[in-house]
């Protein structure tokens, strides 16, 4: 018995290959005139969802993004690799993970999704919270940092990447699964699919339409570059080394 719908929330972030710059006023990261792409972990989630569809385990893959007008671009690219339908919730607001999770909960309810597959974290803020918060709000089980996903008999068997190695969990569906780097390698879109995706419609709505309280729950006080690495120093003797360690308060 195959699942009806997989929902894949995706985020438009600064392209992974671009060097991130902190804004001069330290309020955040520079995004003006910077190349934007789909969050790489979300691309991996889409790839996994499409693979499940190809295995006959899922009937329809739906992608959703919450972002500005330009975010529609990533939905078109994802429709070229196998996403069947996409939803664009337009807003210029920068939403925090809890707000995103609340909106996604409404989308899940409207879509009647059987499974949510998303990237473990976005590479612009590295919050790594949305998936877990969503699981909590929906009261669904969750399997995060997935490096392997199998679906059978109403359950998802997921190999998780954890500090000590790999952990295999079994979760009852419906569930939230977050994708980690080694889950798969996203495919290239075929030219004819890219052309076809240009003509597909995207279900667009505004954030206000969803009636969710998106008030921020925390303030970002400042964003800074990590301290520049100081050069190493060669010492001539063990005594000098010990003295330096003492002077630096290490010993």
């Amino acid at each position: 018995m195959s699942l009806a719908r997989v929902l894949v929330p995706v985020k438009r972030t600064v392209d992974y290959a671009v060097k991130i710059r902190v804004k001069p006023d330290n309020t955040g990261v520079e995004t003006k005139n910077v190349k934007m792409s789909t969050n790489p972990f979300d691309e991996i989630a889409v790839e996994e969802a499409v693979k499940l569809k190809e295995k006959g385990l899922v009937k329809e893959v739906v992608a959703v993004t919450i972002g500005p007008k330009d975010a529609a671009e990533i939905l078109r690219k994802l429709m070229a690799v196998g996403v069947d339908r996409s939803i664009h919730i337009e807003t210029d607001e920068d939403l925090q993970p809890l707000a995103v999770a609340k909106v996604l909960k409404k989308v899940v309810e409207k879509e009647n999704s059987d499974l949510v597959l998303l990237g473990k974290q976005a590479i612009d803020d590295d919050s790594c919270q949305t998936g877990q918060l969503l699981g909590g709000l929906l009261n669904w089980p969750q399997a995060s940092f997935a490096s392997e996903v199998n679906v059978e008999g109403g359950k998802a068997i997921v190999k998780r990447e954890i500090d000590g190695g790999l952990e295999t969990v079994s979760v009852q569906l419906p569930a939230v699964i977050s994708a980690d780097l080694r889950l798969n390698t996203p495919r290239y879109a075929k030219l004819k699919d890219i052309m076809a995706a240009r003509k597909m419609t995207i279900d667009t709505s505004s954030l206000a339409d969803w009636g969710v309280d998106t008030t921020p729950r925390f303030d970002v006080v400042s964003v800074q570059d990590p301290p520049t690495r100081a050069g190493g120093v060669k010492v001539e003797s063990v005594q000098e080394l010990v003295q330096k360690l003492k002077n630096d308060g290490v010993l």
């Binding site: 392209d15 075929k190 052309m195």
Partner: protein, 494 residues
């Protein structure tokens, strides 16, 4: 890994290169202890290498095909030191082999016999950059990739790009008039080099480091140093005109079933993508097979194997405008049946990955066996004919691998034949046929790789005798003792 050569100085080098046999010029002196003492007084001990294991890497080229026998490597840190070294060598009649990143493919960057290697890696400072004019002034040993990264921080980029960028030097690029994948868009170094500082054979420093777009004051002397492969002077600093960085870059990889169709795609790209086209490269199915064989974790970005792959890159200042142009172009190539399959990079990571396929072919050729590399300019319609003819010539030798790839947009073919071992049989099957074919089509036997040691005897296929004689006359004026990179570029007079 490097072969240790113990040939006497009067023997020919390596039996495998019968056509390159040269004899050591008896007019050159041999390095002695007094010489080493002098160089040490100029450069300090750190700048003078005499131990065999220290010298080894400087004696062999990247392909490990050309191996010299130097006993001395010098590493100056500034132009004045280069001048003192050359003045001394000229007086002593000691031959010198200038060396940059040592990534050349025609044996031009390593000694043939005991020429002193003058390695310029330590002269690696970027001296100045003017963002308004886009002119950068750099010492000769700046690595191209480092220059490019520096320029990117300042909204510009290097005017050329090639696979060796992680190791090659701007001085070497200039001395060899390096080409690369962006020539189609930014033109050659003959146009982008605005000034050169060089040291002549007798130690005279020629400061031609002008940063001006326009300067018509007498003969354009810098052109003598661009492409003469270190035989007329040692380049110690350059002024390059660098283009602004494009904010919108797109990369597409297309697959097609014939070279005819690939040419139609090229024509269409030039007319429909016009000013945003920044690269048009091709490679054949043999190259793709080679890459996938050599890198087992990689997969063909296209879902089908194709006979020809075309890589198109666009660079412009307006993402929306460029994407629309590119999408319209791609849609019509599909509709017109010019392309059987293709893909467009979705992110910078995918862009780099697609370029990886084109740029790694050279490395994989080296891993496969002993490569014979030919870099030929031909009229675009004739380019792949040469590859087909070469495949036919080796039809009785299935252990030999033949493939073709290159800068299709510039009519520059990289024909590669890889054999399990270097051998005269293989060499004679390739040469002189490959040069005769080229001459018949009025092509160039060396589009961008230069002559080095490898092609001196074939120079006549592309340059007439009066032209070669004029080159010899100029060499005589600039380097009367012939100490700069001897045995290279110009053939010995019969």
């Amino acid at each position: 890994m490097f072969a240790v050569r113990s040939l006497g100085f009067t023997k020919a080098i390596g039996k495998r290169f019968a056509s390159q046999a040269v004899t050591r010029n008896p007019n050159f002196a041999q390095v002695n202890d007094a010489d080493v003492a002098f160089f040490t007084s100029v450069l300090g001990e750190k700048g003078v290498l005499t131990e065999a294991h220290d010298i080894e890497p400087y004696n062999a080229d990247w392909l490990n095909k050309f191996v010299g026998q130097t006993k001395l490597v010098l590493k100056p840190t500034n132009t004045k030191e280069v001048s003192e070294i050359l003045k001394y060598c000229n007086e002593r009649k000691l031959a010198v082999c200038p060396q940059g990143g040592n990534t050349g493919l025609v044996g031009g960057s390593v000694p043939v016999f005991d020429e002193i290697v003058l390695n310029l890696s330590k002269m690696n400072k970027i001296k100045d950059f003017n963002a308004t004019s886009g002119v950068v002034i750099a010492e000769t040993g700046v690595i191209l990739q480092n220059l490019d990264e520096f320029l990117k921080e300042h909204g510009h980029c290097a005017p050329l790009d090639l696979g060796a960028k992680g190791s090659c030097h701007v001085g070497g690029n200039t001395s060899t008039n390096a080409g690369g994948i962006r020539l189609l868009r930014y033109g050659s170094l003959h146009g982008n080099v605005l000034g050169v500082e060089a040291v002549m054979a007798d130690g005279t420093i020629l400061d031609g480091l002008c940063a001006l777009r326009k300067d018509n004051t007498g003969f354009d002397l810098k052109q003598l140093f661009i492409g003469s492969e270190g035989t007329l002077g040692v380049v110690t600093a350059v002024a390059w005109l660098c283009p602004p960085l494009s904010s919108s870059v797109n990369v597409a990889l297309l697959g097609t079933s014939s070279y005819e169709l690939a040419q139609k795609i090229l024509l269409k790209a030039k007319s429909e993508l016009g000013e945003i086209l920044s690269a048009f490269e091709f490679f054949d199915s043999h190259c793709m097979d080679l890459l996938l064989e050599d890198h087992k974790t990689k997969k063909n970005p296209l879902e089908d194997d194709c006979k020809f792959y075309v890589l198109i890159e666009t660079s412009g200042s307006n993402e929306t405008h460029d994407k629309e142009k590119l999408n319209n172009f791609l849609e019509s190539t599909l509709d017109q049946g010019l392309v059987s399959t293709g893909t467009v990079a979705e992110s910078e990571t995918q862009q780099k990955d697609i370029w990886w396929f084109r740029e790694t072919i050279t490395e994989s050729l080296r891993s496969k066996g002993k490569p014979y590399k030919y870099d030929i300019s031909l009229p675009v319609p004739a380019m792949y004919d040469l590859v087909e003819k070469m495949k036919q010539r080796f039809s009785e030798m299935p252990e030999v691998f033949v493939c073709g790839y290159g800068h299709m947009g510039d009519g520059n073919l990289h024909l590669n034949i890889v054999a399990p071992e270097f051998s005269d049989k293989v060499l004679n099957t390739i040469e002189p046929y490959v040069y005769e074919f080229t001459a018949e089509h009025r092509g160039s036997i060396s589009a961008e790789h230069g002559i080095g040691l490898m092609k001196t005897k074939s120079l006549h296929f592309s340059k007439s005798e009066p032209m070669i004689q004029l080159m010899r006359d100029i060499k005589k004026v600039m380097d009367p003792n012939g100490i700069l990179n001897p045995y290279k570029v110009l053939p010995e007079k019969e």
